[in-house]
């Protein structure tokens, strides 16, 4: 089986234009005969839904929250990139393209990334036209700031609520189409399976989360914009409901899952404070500009930080990376924190934390200067921990934040299953093995506003509208399978709660497939995960019935999928015998501890094919061809 990325030929800068011209169109009067299902209402789903409905297609949309406005995109803080070059500091489409490919450690598809950079500017225009209140200068023009991995200021932002404002912009455009009757919205509805007819994606199975009704919906194309799978690790910065279910069920129906091991761990989050912890909160990376990171040289030191004298402190980043110090790149900082904690130097009750200390900066610049720069972050930290960071150092620890892996898609964002399109964090996307800050929002909106509206039309122009009906056997079978699975979950009547299993899985993934991975650990995980899964199906306790709002049942279904998917994640990590971006294999590092790629063997996308419940999945390759950039070692020295 060869995976054809369907990248158009011709020079990089002309591919998208040429492709747009070559794609087939559908007569405006005929568009309304086509129905498109969109699962997910985050930036990717809402922008696609609004744009496709405006074009005249009939759209059905689904989300698990009570309102499309609550999709997890709402939580993004920092900003969104675009190559506007408003500050006149040397940015260009080419530079944004290059930074993204390099940031991704040369594991992304060139043509996709170039297109992303090309459409980035139109996104900002669109958002402003919708009334998104981006930050402005006194002149009335838009303000920009800098972000990691770039030397230009290309990030647009709306205070610390950029994701919220972009999502509300898309949600409002989308709501307008709902009001006009062009979109039928199904909130509190969870997709539980994909329906495939003659090899084409033609519909989905859903559960109404209020009544428990399990039904099917048919369409001419299906879009999954269901977000990332960071919650496989139990603790992450993702919202509680984020899941892999939609993507994983599509995988089991034949869609390939690409690079599941590419996960991003953010170095500065508020550490876990106890077993009850339900999620982790991000603290902006910008804090590392003025904070110094340290731990006690003594193992298991329980003294309060103020009582640890200067000479007994280990400023380990400054020690190990004298040139970069506290501003070492994300992956290195995260891994170093883990190392010192594993060695027993961690701080706080749990021992899983390091200090981020502002004492020197406050001495040097004064408390007011620090307050002006970071006041809102200090306030947020204090609200959560009850500790005052002006008086004592912050405690931080890395946390799972974003997943670069996802369903495999070609240049048209269509998976190997015709008719199944995947957008936003759910696809394996444009970020290679590591995503740069402020690029996920850009990608989600690029996919939804400016890519899918064209590429779906091209696909639909080749299929007969309305050919799939929910009374077809494929729909009935898929539905029966879900009904049976739900019964099974409710029927176990065991002794352990769903969360207990999820936590156990999280521990295994975090321990063996987190910031540092090695063959031995991954093999252990591959033994342990099936054991947990087996116990889950024998001993999980899900109370209540299907015919009601049942949050335990919802969780159980998601965790059941994480328990299968976790294995795929570890398998992919095991097979990728190199380090790249967020995937760090201990066996493959340079002397300085940097990720060591193996371009000869691994300059490819790994796309996994499901082979049945008792067989190993098959690993396919899409070779990555770099025609416009030279593969180089990422250097931050």
């Amino acid at each position: 089986m060869t995976l054809d990325p369907k990248v158009p030929d011709g020079p990089l800068a002309e591919k998208w234009d040429k492709h747009r011209f070559q794609m087939k169109l559908i007569n405006p009067a005929n568009k309304r005969k086509y129905k498109i299902i969109i699962v997910g209402t985050g930036l990717a789903g809402a922008s696609a839904g609004a744009s496709l409905a405006e074009l005249g297609y009939e759209v059905e949309s689904f989300c698990y929250q009570d309102s499309p406005r609550r999709a997890h995109s709402i939580a993004a803080q920092g900003g969104i990139n675009a190559a506007k070059n408003y500050p006149n500091d040397g940015d260009s489409i080419w530079r944004l393209f290059y930074d993204t490919v390099k940031g991704g450690d040369f594991r992304a598809r060139e043509a996709n990334v170039y297109r992303l950079a090309q459409v980035s500017n139109a996104i900002i225009d669109q958002c402003v036209a919708q009334g998104v209140p981006f930050a402005r200068e006194y002149s009335g023009y838009l303000d920009n700031r800098s972000f990691g991995g770039a030397q230009v200021s290309r990030t647009f932002y709306a205070r610390g609520q950029t994701g919220q404002q972009l999502l509300l912009g898309a949600y409002q455009a989308f709501s307008r189409q709902i009001g006009l009757g062009k979109v039928k919205m199904y909130p509190r509805t969870e997709m539980l399976d994909l329906v495939v007819v003659d090899g084409h994606a033609k519909g989905i199975v859903v559960r109404d989360m209020v009544t428990g009704q399990i039904r099917t919906h048919s369409a001419d194309a299906v879009v999954l914009a269901t977000g990332g799978y960071g919650n496989a690790f139990y603790l992450s910065t993702n919202a509680k409901g984020c899941n892999v279910t939609a993507a994983y069920r599509a995988y089991k129906k034949g869609a390939f899952f690409a690079n599941p091991c590419y996960t991003q761990i953010h170095p500065t989050c508020i550490p876990v404070s106890g077993d009850y912890q339900s999620k982790l909160t991000l603290m902006s990376e910008s804090l590392r500009n003025d904070g110094r990171i340290w731990v006690s040289k003594k193992k298991g030191d329980k003294r309060p930080p103020a009582q640890i004298p200067e000479e007994e402190r280990d400023y380990y980043l400054e020690r190990k990376y004298p040139s970069f110090g506290n501003l070492a790149p994300r992956d290195i900082s995260s891994r170093s924190a883990k190392e010192v904690c594993d060695e027993g130097h961690g701080v706080g009750e749990s021992g899983l934390g390091v200090y981020l200390d502002f004492a020197d900066a406050i001495k040097r610049l004064g408390e007011n200067a620090i307050r002006e720069k970071y006041g809102n972050l200090f306030h947020m930290y204090e609200k959560i921990t009850g500790e005052n960071p002006y008086q004592m150092p912050m405690r931080i620890y890395p946390a799972v934040h974003y997943t670069m892996g996802g369903l495999w898609v070609d240049y048209n964002l269509m998976s190997n299953l015709p008719g199944l399109f995947v957008a936003g964090e759910a696809n394996f996307s444009d970020h290679g093995a590591n995503r740069l800050g402020a690029s996920a929002l850009m990608q989600g909106l690029a996919d939804g506003y400016f890519v899918l509206p064209y590429t779906i039309g091209d696909y639909l122009s080749k299929v007969k509208p309305g050919s799939a009906k929910t009374d077809m056997p494929e729909f009935q079978d898929a539905k029966e399978e879900i009904v049976a699975k739900t019964k099974r979950l409710l029927g176990v009547k065991g002794k352990k709660t769903v969360d207990e299993f999820h936590r156990e899985l999280g521990h295994v993934l975090w321990g063996y497939c987190g910031m540092a991975r090695d063959e031995e650990g991954l093999k252990k995980a591959l033994v342990r995960i099936p054991e947990i899964r087996e116990e889950f199906w024998k001993n999980v306790c899900v109370l209540g019935s299907n015919e009601e709002l049942n949050q335990s049942l919802e969780k159980a279904g998601r965790v059941a999928d994480f328990l299968e998917f976790g294995e795929l994640l570890c398998l992919d990590a095991l097979e990728r015998r190199e380090s790249c971006g967020g995937h760090f294999r201990v066996e493959h590092q340079t002397e300085e501890g940097e990720a060591k790629r193996d371009d000869r063997k691994f300059c490819h996308v790994a796309a996994w094919e499901y082979k049945g419940p008792n067989a190993s999945p098959e690993r396919h390759k899409e070779e990555l061809k770099y025609e416009n950039v030279t593969l180089a070692t990422r250097s931050y020295k």
Partner: protein, 247 residues
């Protein structure tokens, strides 16, 4: 610490519902309020009792899902935060805590502490947008916007749509929610073109959805986790009068 919880339990929309007492034992003061409920729920499941249903997702004060009346105050009595941002260190051993859903005619209870807030979505669908279709819009910097206007629009746009304003209001009015959106868009040149139709449509939908009138109690502002000012209600009233006069 040990606490006593008095929690609203209601099986479904038509069920009568009642307050049920639970003991929350060994609660750590670092827990968030929702984590405290998680612990209580894990206990209930172990005992074979159905857990308490409540809406939540982001758990960091931005998605607007969590919606608890805590001791009669939406999101609890700490100012400027949502229930998911409330921490147990604000309670003490032996406290009795009352937990109820939002109470409003327009927000019917679905189960336990979960209410149906889809009326908010329908208000937005009736006019809370700028009719800019994808593509064909001018460069983002083509129209400069005075910083004070853009800042004020952002203050209004900070609304998370949680419904605390409605829950706090003795009349269950949605004026702060609607006022914030109407004002945000009216303050920006992009939104000015449709301002009249927008305010008329949104106010009409608000009335049809059974929200009450505003009689200037200003409980909404006090309860708003994003501290959105009632000045936006005044601004909406001006928008409305202006639009109605033109009709």
């Amino acid at each position: 610490m040990n606490l006593t919880l008095k929690v609203w339990r209601q099986k479904h929309k038509e069920d009568q519902g009642l307050m049920v007492t639970y003991e929350a034992k060994d609660i750590n003061s670092h827990m968030s309020f929702l984590e405290m409920l998680d612990v209580v729920n894990e206990d209930l499941i172990k005992k074979g009792e159905e857990p308490i249903a409540f809406d939540h997702d982001c758990r960091e004060g931005i998605c607007g899902a969590c919606s608890l009346m805590i001791n009669g105050v939406p999101h609890g009595s700490e100012k400027g935060i949502t229930a998911c941002q409330l921490h147990m260190r604000h309670f003490k051993d032996g406290d009795v805590i009352y937990i109820e859903p939002w109470r409003a005619r327009a927000f019917p209870v679905i189960k336990d502490l979960i209410v149906d807030r889809s009326a908010f979505d329908r208000i937005i669908q009736s006019g809370g947008f700028v009719s800019a279709t994808t593509g064909g819009v001018p460069d983002a910097n083509a129209i400069p916007i005075a910083k004070p206007d853009s800042d004020s629009a952002m203050d209004a746009a900070a609304c998370i749509g949680c419904g605390a304003c409605v829950a706090a209001c003795p009349n269950a009015s949605a004026m702060l929610f609607v006022g914030a959106k109407v004002s945000q868009l009216a303050l920006l040149p992009q939104g000015k073109i449709e301002r009249e139709q927008r305010v008329l449509n949104m106010v009409r939908t608000m009335d049809e959805e059974n929200f009450g009138n505003c009689t200037n109690h200003f409980e909404c502002e006090a309860a708003c986790p994003k501290e959105i000012s009632v000045q936006y209600i005044a601004q909406m009233n001006r928008e409305y009068l202006r639009a109605a006069a033109k009709q």
